[in-house]
């Protein structure tokens, strides 16, 4: 799951946890899911890097990124 989607799901979980209709067991299940997502998101972040490239369109219409 992308960082973006992890964050979106986490936002959802926080919102659901605030919903009082949820029973404790469901809440704890969501919490577990959230903790897992947080861990994944941290891993995702660790992999990210800052780079600079240039987009090149090849003759066959496909694309390539060359490093600047």
């Amino acid at each position: 799951m992308s960082f973006e989607r992890q964050i979106t799901r986490l936002e959802q979980i926080v919102a659901q946890l605030n919903d009082s209709k949820l029973d404790l067991a469901q809440a704890l299940e969501l919490f577990d899911e959230g903790v897992g997502l947080l861990r994944d998101a941290h891993e995702e972040l660790a992999k990210a890097e800052g780079t600079l490239g240039r987009l090149i369109e090849k003759a066959d219409g496909s694309f390539d990124v060359v490093k600047e």
Partner: protein, 404 residues
């Protein structure tokens, strides 16, 4: 006519033939005299006249004077409307308006500038560019392309950002500088495009389309550094604005300076006042993202611990009512036990003893019920109503038999 060589006269000229005067001989003119003279000449040479131009840099001064520039594609002249002349002019001209101005060319000595003193202004329709801009804008509006509802949210963490701009422009340099300063974890991919002059509209549109087709960009920045209105004109093109609006990838428009608003800005999902500002929008440092995650965790933990706490409280309350119920039960049980005890009392062998019977028990306290349990010489105990008697068996005679 030839003249004999005069060494003294020769010394009076330098190598370039200029006469070597002593300071006393020089005729010095003050700047004020110079500008006054120039003013006289210019005012004398030009009659009152009409000029055609576009109003730019319009600045109304506190004193009531209006300062601006009159320009066409090739040249410009500073212009002023003095407060005392404003009554002849119905309204201040708009920036960019094409006008006919009636006045006199003069020199403004305090600045040493040529200045056109304007007495009357007549708008020549709207400025052509403004007119065109308005038409394009109305068309885009009619198609709903400028609706705020159409704006998409940018991703929280745009990992790959395509930058459609000139590869050698100031805009790209500014963007890279911000990304580096913020140590942002973003992959910038430049999509080179000509951003001004002929062919620029097509180049920028192609750049956007390519960035979308490439498919890896989370967001696109369309950037152009500051410039004249003509330079930025590319970004007021209706077709370009339509391409921006149609992009499946969210677009940040960053054209010119803060005060320049183009159709591209209006059609984009986000308008950044400058290319640097656009970079700030996509530049997320690791620290910021870690903070974001920490906030989410804290919010989650808060709601969950609140839930656990409230469950615990409910539990406690339930526990208290159980105790309460139990206490009542115990009380009732005691009463019942008391009542039962009364009834048991009635059935107790002790009450039988009260009636005059005795119970034989062996020395370990077991009740002896049958003669078979006795043997001559066996010691036993007789339990009576007020105590016990130690006894020894003399002889045993089962019922129906003679005594042995």
């Amino acid at each position: 006519v030839t003249r004999a060589w005069d060494p003294a006269a020769d010394r009076a000229y330098d190598a370039r033939g200029r006469r070597d005067e002593t300071p006393d001989d020089r005729e010095v003119v003050s700047i004020a005299e110079l500008t006054a003279a120039a003013r006289e000449i210019i005012e004398g040479a030009f009659p009152l006249m009409w000029v055609r131009g576009e109003v730019t840099d319009f600045k109304p001064h506190r004193s009531g004077h209006w300062y601006f520039c009159l320009r066409d594609t090739a040249a410009q002249v500073r212009a002023v409307v003095w407060a005392r002349d404003r009554f002849r002019i119905p309204a201040a001209p708009d920036e960019g308006m094409q006008v006919l101005a009636y006045g006199r060319l003069t020199v403004y000595p305090a600045r040493g500038e040529m200045q056109f003193t304007v007495y009357r202004i007549e708008a020549e329709g709207d400025g052509l560019w403004r007119k065109k801009l308005e038409i394009s804008r109305k068309k885009l509006e009619a198609d709903g392309l400028l609706d705020p509802d159409r704006k998409r949210k940018l991703p929280v963490f745009p990992r790959t950002v395509a930058v459609v701009t000139s590869p050698d422009g100031a805009a790209l340099k500014d963007i890279i500088a911000v990304i580096q300063r913020r140590k942002a974890k973003v992959r910038l991919v430049v999509v080179p495009a000509k951003v001004q002059g002929e062919g620029a509209v097509k180049a920028v549109r192609t750049g956007i389309v390519r960035a979308c087709q490439w498919g890896e960009a989370d967001a696109i920045i369309v950037a152009r550094g500051g410039g004249s209105r003509e330079d930025l004109w590319t970004f007021n093109d209706e077709k370009l604005a339509r391409t921006v609006a149609a992009s499946p990838v969210p677009i940040i428009s960053a054209v010119g300076h803060e005060t320049d608003i183009t159709l591209c800005d209006l059609a984009a999902d986000v308008r950044a006042p400058t290319p640097s500002a656009a970079a700030e929008i996509v530049a997320r440092s690791e620290e910021e993202l870690v903070q974001l995650l920490a906030d989410l965790r804290a919010r989650m933990a808060r709601t969950v611990s609140w839930r656990v706490e409230s469950a615990r409280n409910r539990h406690r309350a339930a526990g208290r009512s159980i105790q309460h119920a139990a206490a009542g039960f115990t009380q009732r049980a005691k009463h019942r036990v008391g009542a039962l005890a009364g009834r048991l009392e009635a059935l107790s062998p002790l009450s039988t003893l009260h009636r005059g019977y005795a119970v034989p028990r062996d020395l370990e306290g077991r009740t002896l019920r049958e003669v078979a349990e006795f043997a001559p010489g066996l010691a036993f105990e007789l339990l009576l109503r007020d105590g016990s008697v130690r006894a020894t068996t003399q002889s045993v005679r089962p019922a129906g038999e003679d005594e042995q």
